[in-house]
Symmetry: C2
Subunit: 389 residues, 2 copies
């Protein structure tokens, strides 16, 4: 039976061109780009090509502002801890929001243990940060504002450019976790105004375990991996050549196909939004309806438990998730859903649908049929369910 | 023209079996091992298989003690900074040696900026640490001893088991950077007694940008990458599936072929040691003659400059290095050679030959011919050269 993959937020498949480039990289056996001989030079050139493609995807004119890392988590840890350490003499206050990714939350928690103070601003019921709240939270000790570009559980996009105006005026570094935006929606680091942008290759159909940072020239930040002189002294360690080459090709294609992909995602999302009422009742969509990722939809379905939906859908060969896989080791209710005011029971019944370029319109009714059966079965056995059912 | 690669310390080629496994992983497009559906389960199983192979290579009976990282540099940063942060309340003193890898030196330098104190013990003219010096350096504040297992520039192997006896008795954590040992010489973490062992996949013919840590159960250490619950909460971040699968296969083969490889390396090294005098004169070998890596030979050739030798050998399609590629961005004299008492001029004329399983006996005389021509040319134009030449 065919599988429907509506869980792209956990893992995206590799593009055929990315697979081909990675296989070629494996077969050509690159040397160490830091070596002073021919094999090393070939490797260094391949790194340059990948760096230029990634820079272009972000509309970054200076590829030296791109630093390769082992993925979104490393990028975020690097941004937050690196800025905190490098600017500790100026102050130890950091501002963030209530709906950040675990990598941000836990990096900040680690810093709290080292004497840093963190202010976490709230979001409205659509998951949007109010830039004025950030402005009001700034003190003389503030060295960093870290606000995600888009949310991985509800898709809401934050007003980063507006926040950047505030931080620039105050000469405070702005980091944005754009792991779920870069490669999905247009990203122009020049227009955005953030000093540091974190991203991950798998979001745009490159391999997992590879990512990067845009670090605007002149931004005061320490590495978190110290050692060799790789990545312009910003990130030590022998490069994951095969992964970086894959990310480069994925970035190039993401830039070329951005409009086409966005249109495709919107088509799927609109169809799902439109047709869902024909299949199930008593649900709420989470997140902002316009300022939102086109490939992601969060829906809280009443009287059922999201994990059970995921497991039952899996039996029907439909992959979906309740929230990001990174948090799936955790049994607690989603802090994102709590922050936008979803009550505990509804949060438990939340399903996260995330589309990919490989999804088709035909899959929407098939998914909805499977979801309808699943919801009916679960509601029939649910003690929470309406007696009228 | 055929290329002779005697620079395996910079980069090892991938084994055919590793290439095949990585290509298969690329083609099968693993999901996210943290996802709760079939694709996620397959990925989680593939991670388990790799972890078991790596554990077996280290004679580690509990695969949960293996943590995957993005390479040797991350492993070392994690070990040193993670132990330092987790044990700061007990003390802030760390002991190391004068000939560690840059990742160790620079991680410790970073910690010094945060109030940690570091004692660096000297080595003898063969590059060996005296365990008594470590014993004498221990104070009530000492929380970590970090001594490399083998040196990446001269090959000397340290008496880690003896040092472990000292640290165990004092309940101090012992980390050993075994990046150039694991997969090359037998490694038995149970006999060794170190609490943390850093390693990198490329040393044993796996991909670059992948590595790991052995962290003995109960060792107090923080992650340096905070976020999701991956790697038993010890290292957050979506896994580099393709790289880890490659490392797993490389580890399995390294364990199976350990004896064969060691014998092959010894054959090559002995031949080079024996025949070198027939080709050039006025040189000194660096490092210990017995307690040394079998695949590595450092020789300081008088009256010439090592970088020039490497560049001229490259023109003859021979790859060699002056020292580790990680340090090749630096123009300073090697701290390792300085520490064993090699004078400045001799250090500049140092050539590092590192063998791989793909090298053959036939390559030794070819390499020596090329070296002879190179040394003659360079000495003819060298202002340092003996007038008798």
């Amino acid at each position: 039976m065919e599988t429907i993959n509506f869980d792209h937020i956990s893992a995206n498949p590799l593009l055929p061109e990315v697979k081909a480039a990675m296989i070629e990289a494996i077969e050509s056996d690159y040397g160490n780009p830091s070596s002073h001989h021919k094999k090393g030079d070939q490797a260094a050139k391949a790194l340059d090509v990948a760096r230029q493609s990634v820079a272009a995807l972000l509309n970054c004119t200076n590829p030296k502002e791109i630093v390769f890392t082992s993925g979104g988590t490393e990028s975020i840890n690097h941004a937050i801890k690196g800025v905190a350490m490098a600017n500790a003499s100026k102050g130890k206050h950091i501002i963030t929001s209530n709906i950040e990714h675990n990598s941000v939350i836990k990096s900040l928690r680690r810093l709290k243990g080292q004497g840093y103070k963190v202010t976490s601003v709230s979001v409205d019921s659509y998951g949007r940060v109010n830039p004025d709240e950030i402005k009001n939270a700034i003190t003389d000790e503030t060295i960093l504002v870290s606000i995600m570009h888009s949310n991985n559980e509800i898709g809401t996009i934050q007003p980063i450019a507006q926040i950047a105006e505030i931080t620039r005026a105050k000469k405070i570094i702005l980091h944005t976790d754009a792991v779920d935006s870069v490669g999905i929606i247009p990203m122009d680091v020049q227009a955005l105004g953030a000093d540091i942008v974190s991203f991950a290759s798998n979001s745009f159909y490159g391999p997992t375990g590879v990512g990067g940072l845009y670090i605007s020239r002149g931004t005061r930040i320490f590495p978190i991996l110290d050692g060799g002189a790789q990545e312009g002294n910003k990130r030590a360690g022998a490069e994951n050549m095969i992964g970086i080459i894959g990310m480069g090709v994925a970035a190039q294609i993401a830039a070329e196909k951005m409009d086409e992909r966005t249109a495709h995602f919107k088509l799927l999302k609109d169809k799902l939004l439109r047709e869902l009422p024909d299949y199930i009742d008593e649900y709420n969509f989470n997140g902002h309806m316009e300022e939102s990722l086109p490939n992601l939809l969060s829906v809280s379905i009443k009287y059922i438990e999201g994990e059970s939906v995921v497991l039952m859908l899996d039996d029907e060969n439909v992959a979906a998730s309740t929230r990001s896989a990174c948090a799936s080791g955790s049994l607690r209710s989603s802090h994102v859903l709590q922050s936008i005011g979803v009550d505990y029971a509804d949060a438990q019944g939340t399903l996260l649908v995330s589309f990919g370029i490989d999804n088709t319109e035909d899959e929407i009714p098939k998914f909805l049929e499977a979801l309808k059966r699943t919801v009916k079965t679960l509601r029939d056995i649910s003690p929470l369910c309406r007696t009228s059912n």
